[in-house]
């Protein structure tokens, strides 16, 4: 701070605390709701103090499911979301490392074309080509499969750009030394380039894991079977029965379960997350 004004500092704290409280409040309410019984909520008597049905509600949601709507144990969609997020994150990183390696370390015809073909996918989010993409996945018999859920989302212009950017900063001396030692491209890639890229890979992983976990439109279209749905879609299905019948305490427990993994990833790997976020956007 340039000046030392105690009053201004107190005001800053007050503003930030109000911000933190507003940000946290909806989640806190959901958490409290997930610890109560259905009558408390349907009578509109939800207080701000957690009740004692926490274990009961979460166990019910995970292993039995709701009584009135989907009736599916939520452990299954939770696993599906995890598998989907892992395949998307790892797949994006894997194929983008390979393409960035090709573009930076080789000279070949159509190198620039390949770069632009990848780069321009930034302009084609899934939302603008919903039904034609759906039709292709259907024609390939990939509806209701993990392949259908993940492969169409696995191309990544951002990851390719990030790795390309990073490879550019790797000193040329390393590849020269490697060549003198008689190492081929693969050996250089695995022994030299990959170890150097670990931080970038980890940062990318955090961002893409969240991206995969939070997908909505795509799983909504591609999955019809209950045992293939993701947790985020699972919540929405709990709300579709007549509103008065929604088992809110269970829906809110599911909501908490659905956001816990990505939020833990962000908080636990905050530095990598911030790095990944700010670097991919440049």
């Amino acid at each position: 701070m340039v000046e030392n004004r105690p009053f201004a500092a107190i005001l800053s704290h007050v503003i930030l605390i109000i911000g933190v409280v507003i940000i946290a409040f909806p989640v806190y309410v959901a958490f409290v709701a997930s610890t109560t019984d259905p009558t408390t909520i349907s009578n509109g008597q939800l207080s701000l103090i957690p009740d004692h049905h926490l274990i009961e509600n979460y166990a019910k949601v995970l292993f039995e499911g709701t009584e009135r709507s989907t009736k599916q144990p939520m452990i299954v969609p939770l696993m599906n979301s995890f598998i989907m997020a892992m395949i998307i994150a790892c797949g994006k990183i894997f194929i983008s490392l390979l393409s960035a390696f090709a573009i930076v370390y080789f000279r070949f015809p159509f190198r620039n074309t390949a770069f632009w073909v990848i780069f321009l996918t930034l302009m084609l989010p899934v939302e603008v080509r919903i039904y034609p993409t759906y039709k292709i996945v259907a024609d390939l018999h990939m509806l209701d499969t993990y392949a259908g859920l993940t492969i169409p989302l696995i191309a990544s212009a951002t990851a390719t750009l990030l790795f390309r950017q990073f490879f550019m900063t790797v000193p040329d001396e390393l590849i020269e030394a490697s060549k003198i030692d008689g190492a081929g491209p693969w050996k250089f890639f695995i022994d030299t380039l990959l170890p150097l890229s670990m931080t970038s890979i980890a940062a990318m992983f955090v961002i893409q894991f969240i991206y995969g976990w939070n997908q909505y439109l795509w799983p909504l279209l591609i999955t019809t079977r209950d045992d293939m749905q993701t947790i985020v879609i699972g919540i929405q299905k709990m709300l579709t029965v007549t509103d008065a019948l929604t088992e809110w305490q269970l829906a809110m427990a599911t909501t908490i379960l659905a956001m816990l993994p990505p939020v833990i990833v962000v908080v636990a790997m905050q530095r990598l997350f911030v790095r990944g976020l700010t670097e991919t956007e440049k």
Binding site: V117, D172, Y216
Partner: protein, 293 residues
């Protein structure tokens, strides 16, 4: 920038690029091309014959009042979410940038909603503002407001805006904070020595230096509202009541789901594509400028 030393290999680079290019072509370019092609076709009700009709689908689209409704909703929604989330994030970032005790903790406590799925954010806000049992929804009734997002279009719009803003503040906050921290402290100190108060310093030094960040965030936020808020709308309002929260993307989805009109849905997709291309182009022009700046 080019590497001086490279490997020479005839086939390997193509093999390395193959997986990425395959996915890109099969799931990005091919369907995009299909959308463009279909937007020029009209199929009869039974899907037996198709006819090439040039721009008839587009003409029909632009003679449809519901399309203008979706256009207007999208415009209002983008403006509301962008203005609110940017200004709230800026206020928080400016405060968090001061050397306060616990600044790191505030940062952590403000950025985590980035990890929450838009649909989940929507459900959280719906639960608070549910008219008959939501904590805030009921209080509004107790104070005499006739609050009901299921029936009242203004209420529904307010609700999805609140959820969308709540989710987006963290992202904007993070970029504003990074922008603020990259402003040299010596500039601010020099202005303080010249006698400029903190308000004056903010508007004459900090704000102009932050404008590239703000402009970048503006385009990112518009793209966010266009596409990522689909989850909020689908989970909370289903585009209703009476189409009041149907955005352009939601309309492509629901028109296609109602079935039938492939050509019309494709024409809407193509228009969305043009919008994204325009937004991305603006974004890149600006980034180029920033590099030379």
């Amino acid at each position: 920038m080019e590497k001086r030393a490279v490997f020479s290999h005839k086939l390997l680079p193509y093999a390395l690029l193959a997986p990425q290019l395959l996915v890109t072509i099969v799931f990005f370019y091919w369907p995009a091309a299909q959308a463009v092609y279909q937007s020029f076709l009209i199929q009869d009700a039974f899907g037996i014959s198709t006819e090439f009709v040039w721009f008839e689908n587009y003409q029909m689209l632009f003679s449809e009042p519901a399309y203008y409704g979706a256009l207007l909703t999208t415009a209002l929604f983008s403006t509301a979410v962008t203005v609110l989330s940017l200004s709230l994030a800026l206020i928080l970032a400016v405060e968090a940038d001061k050397n306060l005790t616990g600044a790191g903790l505030y940062k952590t406590l403000l950025i985590w909603p980035y990890a929450v799925a838009p649909a989940v954010a929507g459900v959280l806000w719906l639960f608070m503002f549910q008219p008959s049992l939501g904590m805030i929804g009921r209080s509004l009734h107790a104070f005499g407001f006739n609050w009901n997002p299921y029936l009242n279009s203004g209420d529904a719009f307010t609700l999805i805006t609140a959820a969308a803003v709540w989710k987006q503040i963290s992202y904007n906050f993070l970029f504003f904070l990074a922008g603020l921290q990259s402003i040299p402290k010596s500039l601010i100190e020099a202005a303080a020595i010249d006698g400029a108060g903190s308000t004056r310093r903010f508007w004459t030094i900090v704000f102009p230096l932050l404008s590239p960040t703000a402009f970048y965030l503006l385009t990112v936020n518009i793209v966010y509202v266009f596409f990522d808020t689909f989850g909020i709308i689908h989970a909370v309002t289903r585009g209703g009541p009476a189409g009041a929260t149907t955005t352009l993307v939601y309309k492509v989805f629901s028109d296609g789901q109602a079935g039938g009109d492939l050509g019309g849905s494709a024409a809407q997709s193509v228009i969305l594509m043009l919008i994204v291309i325009a937004l991305t182009a603006v974004q890149f022009r600006f980034i180029e400028r920033k590099v030379t700046y």
